[in-house]
């Protein structure tokens, strides 16, 4: 095995240890999306083509992925403040591996959260299409890796300044969610919002996840989703690895 692969696995395994040991933390991390689900679901209008939950749940799933992965930089921030990031920088672990291993780890809590949401809503008016959910999970994994990498890059750029990290993260989080059409459809939005929505790669991820959760497989929508997630992942890993190389 190449050094890069070994190093990446080492970093990923280390990051996963707290996840395996305290899986409940993963549940707590998704309180916000669950609250949204409980509050919004009763308000949703009945739709012509089936239950509103069917439309809303995939959005919440994507939101959970975005939130979980975008918070993750805070963990690195804590390690930068305590000195354990410094210790890893002095070890022979490759800089790309330090970033990639962390980003890959994001897939695990994300999948746990998707499983929880699906399990929670299935007893209600929600049709489970397992194949579609699994395909959507693949797209969301790629998306999570990218968002996680961006979050780590932000943590590194913030140089351990908490306020900087949280300000930027919060400022970007909700516009991203809203323009991706997670909570409300953007179909009837004004032109400028529509443009922003089209430029937001998450829009395509959400559309693809919705289609797949509904048990359909429109090739163009799914491909666009894969592409959207791929763009986020490529960008995130590129920016993140650059930031990690400069980290000291």
């Amino acid at each position: 095995m190449s050094t890069f692969v070994t190093d990446t696995l080492n970093v990923m395994n280390r990051e996963l240890k707290p996840v395996w040991r305290e899986p409940m933390a993963v549940v707590f991390a998704m309180i916000q999306p669950l609250v949204f689900l409980c509050l919004f679901a009763p308000l949703l209008p009945e739709m012509a083509d089936g239950s509103a939950l069917q439309w809303f749940v995939p959005g919440i799933v994507a939101m959970t992925a975005l939130m979980g992965a975008s918070f993750t930089g805070a963990n690195l921030m804590e390690e930068m403040q305590s000195g354990s990031h410094e210790r890893q920088l002095v070890s022979p672990l490759g800089r790309p591996a330090l970033l990639v291993g962390r980003a890959l780890k994001e897939v695990v809590p994300m999948l746990m959260q998707v499983a929880i949401i699906v399990a929670v809503v299935t007893p209600f008016a929600f049709d489970l299409h397992l194949g579609g959910v699994l395909a959507a999970a693949v797209i969301l994994s790629v998306f999570s890796i990218g968002v996680g990498a961006l979050s780590f890059a932000l943590a590194l750029a913030s140089k351990g300044e908490d306020w900087m990290f949280w300000t930027v993260q919060q400022t970007l989080l909700f516009p991203t969610l809203l323009t991706a059409g997670v909570l409300l459809p953007v179909d009837d939005a004004p032109r400028w919002l529509e443009v922003v929505s089209m430029l937001n790669p998450m829009t395509y991820v959400v559309d693809a996840v919705r289609a797949l959760f509904a048990g359909t497989f429109p090739v163009d929508v799914v491909l666009q989703g894969v592409l959207g997630a791929g763009v986020v992942a490529a960008l995130g890993l590129w920016v993140g690895v650059r930031a990690m190389r400069r980290s000291s």
């Binding site: 190093d7 080492n10 395994n13 280390r14 240890k17 707290p18 040991r21 963990n75 804590e78 390690e79 403040q81 305590s82 000195g83 354990s84 410094e86 210790r87 890893q88 920088l89 002095v90 070890s91 022979p92 672990l93 000291s248």
Partner: protein, 333 residues
């Protein structure tokens, strides 16, 4: 080894010359202590030598590898215990030791075995399987040190390793460092604020201040000529004056009277105390109180620079455009 190592930090147009043209040659297998007050540039020097930050000018090589151009080789050869906590707070101590071993290329079984050894050596058995955040400061410090030793590094850098340790663990640590040094022949470079510690551990003491080396010698020689401080208390100012007069006769001693107490600074003062007391008692002025103090960093400092540590102040220079003369400095390890 290092050559003309210099590092400036610029923030808000102020340039802090943290390390200025450090030239040092440290041989394989030496045990060296960097001794200096807060802000002297000890950590900055270590951070350059461990590849964490690049020198502003000058160069350094560690274990034969350049710290800028062969970072990976340097990292493979060194162990580093920084001023912070190396172990992640959400992790278990043992896991961190194993993962550090793996990072240095140990096979899984070897990494486990080594972790167990170090847990034993550093007396961490009771806490190694707990979350790091639940450990006490000193326990965490010992874990940090264990992490720096996992791969038996050829060159070990320790930044204030004893900070936060109780006297017992401080002694254990010194013992451990000495043993590691004796057994593996590793080069050890550590920083400290305490002359006693430098003395107890290191064959060579490099005193730094304002980013410069102001002395580089054995602790014994740094202290020689300083003498111990013997402080005697008396029942009345009259007694102390009389005792002082008598103490003036001690060869090469400096005597100062302050009210009811007399300070005597003299070489090997601690060995002389018994005799002194007997002599004063015979003279009818037995001291009511006796204190003997070994020379401290402050004393060495005063001796070297003519100013006391308390007077030492950070003086960031504001001349942002002053040419940073690339000095010849070499730090070898």
């Amino acid at each position: 080894m290092t050559r003309g190592l210099t590092r400036h930090f610029t923030s808000r147009k102020q340039t802090v010359e943290a390390v200025q043209g450090l030239d040092l040659e440290i041989g394989q297998g030496e045990l060296v202590a960097f001794l200096g007050p807060n802000g002297a540039g000890k950590s900055t020097t270590l951070r350059m030598l461990t590849t964490l930050i690049a020198p502003t000018s000058g160069s350094a090589s560690v274990a034969g590898h350049d710290v800028v151009t062969s970072q990976r080789d340097v990292r493979r050869a060194i162990g580093f215990v920084g001023q912070g906590n190396g172990a992640g707070h959400r992790q278990l101590g043992r896991d961190e030791l194993i993962s550090q071993g793996r990072a240095h290329g140990l096979a899984r079984a070897d990494a486990r075995r080594r972790a167990a050894e170090l847990i034993e050596d550093l007396d961490l058995a009771a806490v190694a399987d707990r979350k790091v955040s639940s450990l006490s400061g000193g326990q965490r410090r010992r874990l940090d040190i264990a992490m720096g030793l996992v791969h038996l590094p050829r060159v070990l850098f320790l930044d204030e390793p004893s900070t936060g340790l109780d006297p017992q663990n401080r002694a254990n640590l010194q013992e451990l460092i000495r043993r590691l040094h004796a057994e593996s022949g590793s080069t050890v470079v550590l920083t400290t604020h305490y002359l006693e510690e430098a003395d107890a551990l290191a064959g060579r003491v490099v005193v730094v201040d304002h980013g410069r080396v102001i002395a580089d010698d054995t602790a014994t020689r740094l202290k020689s000529g300083l003498g111990d401080l013997v402080r005697l208390g008396f029942g009345s100012p009259g007694d102390s004056a009389r005792a002082a007069a008598r103490l003036e006769r001690v060869p090469e001693a400096r005597v100062e009277v302050d009210g009811q107490s007399v300070d005597l600074r003299v070489k090997d003062g601690s060995a002389m105390v018994g005799e002194l007391l007997a002599d004063l008692a015979a003279d009818g002025v037995p001291p009511t109180r006796v204190e003997v103090a070994r020379p401290t960093l402050d004393d060495v400092f005063l001796d070297l620079t003519g100013r006391s540590l308390r007077e030492t102040q950070q003086s960031p220079t504001t001349d942002a455009d002053a040419p940073s003369a690339p000095t010849e400095s070499e730090v070898a390890a």
